[in-house]
């Protein structure tokens, strides 16, 4: 049985307070309310979440794999953007 008329939704789950929502996967649902409930059943069965967002997949604008080089390559050779030139004072742990 096909249900091509049900739109696709992207699911974001926040696992703990203080953390941000993380993409968990996607699912089909007829509307936002049922998408939330389906997300609860599919992605938080084992106590993974305290909050869920669902977003219509069609509302997401994604970068294209074809643009990978102009998008991401230039940042690879700019070490001055990384905070690696600081001297770490003695006695500072966990940095």
């Amino acid at each position: 049985m096909t249900h091509t008329d049900w739109p696709l939704w992207e699911v974001f789950v926040r696992s703990r307070r203080g953390l941000s929502h993380t993409h968990a996967g996607s699912l089909h649902a007829p509307d936002a309310e049922l998408a939330l409930r389906n997300a609860r059943d599919l992605y938080t069965r084992r106590g993974e979440g305290v909050s869920i967002w669902v977003v219509p997949s069609s509302a997401i604008t994604a970068s294209s794999p074809d643009e990978k080089d102009p998008f991401f390559e230039p940042s690879a050779d700019k070490p001055y953007r990384h905070p690696t030139f600081y001297e770490i004072p003695e006695g500072v742990q966990h940095l």
Partner: protein, 244 residues
């Protein structure tokens, strides 16, 4: 092979009634596995089934050995409502059955949780699960009732067909301290409200009386229940004590 129902105490009677409701409906919902209209819904129904199975295990253990009670009793020894043994039918029937039962179960467990009887701890935990079951059924009732002409017709048919099994829910159960009249009034109000919002007609046909259903608590069951039990019990009966 007949294991007589554990006789006697009011606690056993009540535990069997509640436990058999949960066990039988759990099995019915499990029958959707591999057959649900969509994958997402299959998981949702399986989740509800597993919640109910968890409740059944606790309750049947209060009445005796859970496996023996589930797998070795004859049909006449089961004390579940006739509503929960009704076949899945189309999806609308499954949803109507769930709406009726979860609304009832939610009201009853809320009351049990507020008391200090032996079922209070279980009820307090179960009531959160049941609230979700009820919400799931309500959401679908609204969408099917207020959906297409076809879904509306099917939902109305299901709501009508199962109405006659709803009177039995409010027969007092020995061992359960509840305000049954109050529960029934609240059930009629809540169910009616959902049906009306779903643009469905609240059935006016009888819910109690000589010709209607309603003797599951006394061990009288409808024809489809025997076939369901045969499937549920045959593995255990064919291979007693099998484990994996």
């Amino acid at each position: 092979m007949t294991t007589p129902p554990a006789e006697g105490t009011a606690l056993t009677t009540a535990a069997l009634a509640l436990g058999d409701d949960a066990l039988v409906l759990s099995h019915r919902l499990g029958e959707w596995a591999g057959h649900a209209p969509v994958l997402e819904e299959e998981v949702a129904l399986a989740n509800i089934a597993l919640d109910l199975l968890g409740q059944a295990r606790v309750l049947l253990s209060m009445a005796g050995d859970e496996d023996e009670l589930a797998y070795l009793r004859e049909e006449r020894a089961f004390r579940n409502l006739q509503l929960v043994e009704q076949p899945n039918g189309d999806f609308a029937h499954t949803i109507a059955r769930q709406l009726y039962f979860s609304t009832y179960q939610h009201l009853l467990h809320t009351e049990l949780a507020a008391g200090d009887g032996p079922f209070a701890p279980l009820a307090a935990k179960a009531v959160k699960e049941i609230a979700y079951h009820r919400d799931h059924a309500e959401q679908w009732t609204l969408r099917l009732g207020d959906g297409t002409d076809e879904s509306h017709a099917r939902m109305q048919r299901a709501v009508d067909a199962l109405w006659r099994y709803t009177g039995e829910m409010f027969q007092p159960v020995e061992g359960l301290d509840a305000d049954w009249t109050g529960l029934e009034a609240a059930w009629l109000e809540q169910t009616g409200e959902v049906l009306r919002r779903a643009t469905l007609t609240v059935p006016e046909s009888p819910r109690t009386g000589a010709w209607t259903a309603g003797a599951g608590r006394q061990g009288l069951h409808t024809e489809p229940f025997g076939r369901m039990l045969a499937e549920m019990q045959h593995l255990h009966r064919s291979h007693p004590g099998a484990t994996w």
